[in-house]
């Protein structure tokens, strides 16, 4: 009897350990986390507009009034310039690292002249960019990535049907391009 209780207690301890191990390890091997899904959309450094139905990567517009576009990028070679402009009631962007942690987010109210103009780069690239300080980037927001890989999600708000083409054009014209540090 004592051995049976011993076995049950041992089993319970094992269950707790297994629970903790699975919870901690899960983010590293699900294969369907947000970064992996965005990379499955296609080539990196390009915004892909999402449909209201899940695409083959499993991503979709969950909100009927918010149109989404996502771009996976890698800044290990060169910084990436996120750009977009258009007349919308509301737009917002979130920059995330490959673990889906938020690095930076903003909306149109905090943008200069209502335009999206962000450079994401590593710490070393940012130091060189600031030293060069080209005039073309005087109003650009610099975002430092903790890891070189990440993704950006751009949302365009279309509260009424007539505004959907504007939102789609805004997302279609959005840029997610590699840029040279020394122009």
């Amino acid at each position: 009897m004592r051995k049976l209780i011993h076995a049950i207690v041992l089993g319970l301890i094992g269950a707790v350990v297994l629970h903790i191990v699975i919870i901690l390890a899960l983010p590293h091997f699900t294969g369907k986390d947000a970064y992996t899904r965005v990379t499955l959309e296609g080539l990196p450094q390009r915004f892909y507009s999402l449909d209201s139905r899940p695409d083959r990567a499993g991503l979709a517009n969950s909100d009927p009034f918010l149109k989404l576009a996502a771009c996976a990028f890698d800044v290990s070679d060169a910084p990436v310039h996120l750009t977009a402009s258009g007349s919308l009631p509301f737009w917002s962007i979130g920059v995330f690292d490959r673990d889906a942690n938020e690095v930076y987010s903003m909306n149109d109210a905090t943008a200069v002249e209502g335009k999206l103009d962000i450079i994401v780069a590593t710490a070393a690239q940012l130091a060189r960019l600031r030293a060069a300080a080209p005039d073309a980037l005087a109003q650009t927001i610099f975002v430092e990535m903790p890891q070189p890989q990440g993704y950006a999600v751009l949302r365009a708000f279309a509260p009424q049907k007539s505004q959907i083409p504007d939102a789609q054009a805004f997302l279609a014209g959005a840029g997610c391009d590699q840029t040279a540090i020394d122009p």
Partner: protein, 210 residues
């Protein structure tokens, strides 16, 4: 003679059975800790940040959704009415009250797992207001609002959901429902607790075609 292998088998069965079951339950039941709850509406303002707890990270990696950043907005979800009953597509509800400060908001209904509601019978919902936002919604003079939620058209603000089964005697087609209220550009996301927030109340009006 077989006592030792039996004890080992019991220990292993308990460890793997309970360990895996409890993990699945924990991941399905919640998005993690750090939830804020206001009048039955729940939100996870930290879920997309590096400060998220291990449960939130595991859930985030498993669900693979594109979450809103803190400067973008915050989504509140509700799965039960003010009396604590689960929301279903078979019943009619009234949403009343004020929405917290935000530049815009959107309201939509879905299944509790986020999948769209499917109409089992009756006409399609194409062209009906299956989602509302702050631009198209009528407000009272004191900025409060009332929204009727149901499968039958109502005057004023109406959120259309798929009709329940005809006669509603059988539970087929009667789906559980989740309401999502997304606040865009809201100070609630970084709320330090200094502001008293109030969310609209969800009251059940009736069930079936009475």
């Amino acid at each position: 003679m077989f006592r030792v292998p039996l004890l080992v088998a019991i220990a292993l069965a308990i460890a793997f059975g309970l360990g895996i079951q409890s993990t699945l339950m924990a991941l399905n039941a919640t998005v993690g800790f750090g939830e804020i709850e206001i009048d039955g509406w729940r939100a996870f303002p930290q879920a997309q940040t590096a400060e998220a707890d291990p449960y939130a990270r595991a859930h985030r990696a498993k669900a693979g959704r594109l979450l809103l950043g803190s400067a973008e907005g915050l989504t509140f979800i509700a799965t039960s009415d003010r009396a604590g009953r689960k929301l279903t597509t078979d019943c009619r509800y009234k949403l009343s009250g004020t929405v917290p400060m935000a530049r815009y908001w959107t309201l939509s209904a879905s299944r509790p797992d986020g999948a769209p509601l499917s109409g089992s019978s009756g006409p399609s919902l194409a062209g009906l207001p299956t989602a509302l936002n702050s631009v198209v919604t009528l407000k009272n003079r004191d900025a409060s609002l009332e929204i009727a939620i149901g499968s039958d058209a109502e005057p004023g603000n109406w959120l259309a959901i798929p009709p329940g089964p005809a006669g509603s005697a059988s539970p087929v087609g009667n789906q559980e429902m989740m309401l999502s209220l997304t606040l865009l550009d809201t100070p609630v996301a970084g709320n330090s607790g200094l502001v008293k927030l109030s969310m609209p109340h969800i009251d059940m009006v009736g069930c079936g075609h009475a």
